[in-house]
Symmetry: D2
């Protein structure tokens, strides 16, 4: 990248669908330590203590678990226009929406796998309510001292039938950069990690082995210390939350992770660490099939469900899990 | 020590006096993460998640801050009898009390400086209420996931006009062992650290420069990780709690510490680390005046108030502070 | 326990046998951060920075991996005599040895499964060499700042055909206390955790499924923080050390753990956390077969090798592993 | 910032001058855990394990302590040309240098206070030597497991007679963004924190109270966890390194810090934490004189030397320190 497009500023928020809205809300508020920033219709808007915008999670009651949409904020109004133009010229155009709690008009479209994405620029900077006033003026709100105490939304991991196709789409139309990648021996891209800024990734696609489209693998929230992830595990244990995998360290991206299932059925990761990319000419790190087979950084083999289940659930998962158990 | 008396099992609880009972209760419950185990009269009984007895803190409304009493549990009924006999033969006898919430009959007496101590054996093992049932059966109650999340009472630090006199009394009558000590150039013992078990200390005396008697320097609660102390500092910051000193590491005993003032006016320490004493013939570590003058382990000089203020407050403190500021 | 025998002071050291002495030494010195305290014959004596005795690990070149002996220090010469008398009266007598580097005469005997144990009282308190002088006089030597930086030997885990038989032996003859226990549905004791002091365990027996006798499951060294275990994992990763399981938290004893294989073939744990037992009348925590089947505290299922392999290796392990993989 | 210039990619390296090159080298290599990447003339080039370029520290033997130069890498060759043009048009032009170990031609110029800055684009991506090969291919070199284990250069803090003047210069000519700022009651800018990317700062100016020009306050290296800073303090303690202030948390920028004096006389910070700036329209956080007077985040008052001393040392420091002690 020499004069690369850097029109996207950052991953802004995700809309998560839950068939158990009350229990999901309790999970994010009491166990992750998020605050309710707004409520509207069937949705509750939540935020981590470090989110500068109104909310990073829109939790919407729904018949099924899954992801509603994922939104990026652009660097400027002009950057937004440029991205919309690129999408429309590329035959990937969508439509303008009026905006939502916390942000102005957004442009909504689908990636090749069918996930809904939105772009917007106009955003409401969060102003803390009196009871959430921070002690330090460079922090958007008070540190909660409750549950995991997540700082901000870290990344979203979509499932896709063809991660590589989606990578090309996002590089071309949004200017996202590929930072790490799994390429199997047959050339198939089994996973792609993309970044809009110096965080080494904010959007990931891994293969949906069920063949379904538009599904979610997980969303992830950031905590400051690896010890915070361990403490979160102690808290999840006390509340009967399923911990599918971790705490452990990813080889890819080096993130220290813990995967849980929130009561609505979506996989949620608590993560810390990783690295920043300073090199303006950074070359993607490519992992081979053999390298991937080594498991996580410290040797843990991930459980089969991690590679198969997503939301919304589909019937094909069961056959795949039965096969993995043989 | 070859066949040393080890009749005391451990520091059991402390009664803390507060002129602001509601605010003090909020401090211990919401910011330290303790649970209310019982209430009776003007007292609330609180516990850390790792305390195996009913409570380690009895918080009693009072006109002035300070310490009501400090209690040790003995190893057995016979050990209790032996200690009572030793006290009475030594002219330090007190009287039997009927017991209190959480324990049976106790023997109450004064140390030479006038602090009230109690010994008892019969104790109520804590049984968690349904909402505090732990996930792991080797833990007395659920980990709270709230505030600092203190595990148990760690130690009590009395002020005394003559720490050495109190040390001799406790070694002789209770079988406590001296583990570390400050001896000034003139031979005065400026601080003594005593232990009833393998924790390197549970009762400390440091000099009361005001000449007052029976005062408290601080009580301390334990957290598992140094990182927990740092996180507690972030929480105290958000709630306007005065942090007098720390987080830092003590040279003496190596404890990682943070001193706060609870709203009732008593100094409360959040601590972690330190070391266990395995050597049955352990020799006390003696610090000279020059060694003590070096400050804390990593070089921080403790503020003057730390060496002067105690509870209840006395008028002499102000003159000493003024002198220290000159 | 009311007037319990507490004649054993603490686990002192373990002799580990290795067919690759140079590589094993490099593991303990460079990756665990231990110091060489002495060398004699085919043995190197190593210490953690917090060990107050000369050494906690005697590493001896040998044709096969495994454990040479495990030694406890008693509280006094009289306590040593009492334990020897109890062993001899119980028909479990051994013989006196002249002592070794770091300690005086010891009494050597076998547990029912055939592991060699030693008891001694006279011990050499470590005096730091000039280059290992600590900055704080209450610490035996300088903190190394190298590798994992282990503080001291934490515990030893023997394999045994019948853990319950060995438990009874150690309770009766040595006064060790049972603190936690796995009892299967058929009444078999699959695991016993024993303690000589307030650490909740220092000697463990778990079932040897191969039927072999006198084998070792692992030895464990303590680090101060859970974060130190994570950092150790990063270091082991860089040096190609096999990490069999963890970092994770045990349900039993709550220890935060990481199991590695040192180059000589012995399993070595890096651990932190756990809890102290203050209750003089502590009742053992009994885990049922169903409770044990839940896996570790945060849900990880331990790999099959963890339940089967020990040192020295025996041929029966392979058939068991093949069975577990089916 | 709507379509802001973002021509600078990141802070690349700093040249530090030392009158005690051997001791300074030992400090950075053995205590900070850096690796020697190259040597040339009177200079040694060092790197943290996460630096993607050859080196982030050029340590040069010199008669006096201080800073030689500070270098930024640009996003592209074109970005470099644009910045040079801006400097020359602004009357702040310097000269081209042939390059140095690790990078190509650089443009060298002075800030208004007289510090030497360099810009370059062509850079050598570090290739690990065989003994420093990392286990994970997304990491430039092996994690050292030695000393503090710093990841990368974090920031440089210059002293300046007029921080505000330098801020304007850097905003205008280099496109650095102001993120936090101290403005005294008389309007003087006592401190400015500037960023070239999403790290909330990489270059800071604070007031030089001595009136001298071109001096250094400190350079800072990053570690991943706050616990790493505490562990570093334990290591510095063992090696007699002066710890001037900390570990503690800054109110400004929220960095967790520890300030030491390296043997050559320069102040070096070990830091962790802080926050990322995602908001493309971020407004600088302005701290008033009264807010600044509150001390660090958790209440510690910084020692007088911290506000007065810099390198090279000047005679005026002594009078100021004497005044502060009154």
């Amino acid at each position: 990248m020499t004069e690369a497009v850097r029109d996207l500023a950052h991953l802004s928020h995700v809309e998560l669908l839950t068939p158990r809205p009350d229990e999901s809300l309790a999970y994010f508020r009491d166990l992750l330590g998020m605050e309710v920033a707004a409520e509207q219709g069937d949705s509750v808007y939540l935020r981590g203590f470090g989110d500068y915008e109104l909310a990073s999670l829109k939790l919407t009651a729904s018949a099924q678990a899954g992801v509603g949409h994922v939104a990026y904020r652009t660097h400027s109004p002009e950057a937004l226009e440029r991205r919309v133009q690129a999408l429309e010229e590329g035959g990937a155009g969508g439509q303008w929406l009026d905006g939502d709690r916390g942000h102005g008009a957004s442009y909504s479209f689908l990636d090749p796998d069918g996930h809904r994405l939105e772009l917007f620029y106009e955003s409401e900077r969060y102003e803390a309510t009196p009871e959430l006033q921070p002690a330090l003026k460079n922090q958007p709100q008070r540190y909660p001292g409750r549950g995991a105490g997540v700082r901000h939304l870290d990344h979203v991991n979509f499932l896709a039938v063809d991660p590589g196709e989606n990578r090309v789409f996002l590089e071309r139309h949004l200017g996202l950069r590929l930072t790490e990648q799994i390429v199997l021996d047959d050339g198939v891209e089994a996973g792609v990690w993309l970044a809009s800024n110096q965080k080494s990734y904010d959007l990931t696609y891994t293969r949906d082995l069920t063949g379904a489209r538009g599904r979610l693998h997980h969303i992830a929230f950031f905590v400051d210390q690896r010890e915070d992830v361990l403490r979160a595990a102690d808290i999840f244990l006390e509340h009967g939350i399923v911990m599918e995998s971790g705490p452990h360290k990813h080889a890819i991206q080096q993130t220290f992770f813990l995967y849980t299932w929130e009561p609505g059925g979506n996989r949620v990761e608590i993560c810390s660490g990783g690295y920043l990319i300073f090199d303006p000419a950074h070359e993607p790190v490519v992992w081979s099939q053999a390298e991937r087979a080594k498991g996580q950084a410290w040797g843990m083999q991930t459980v089969a469900s991690f590679h198969i289940r997503g939301t919304p659930p589909v019937a094909e998962e069961e056959a795949l899990l039965a096969g993995a158990a043989r």
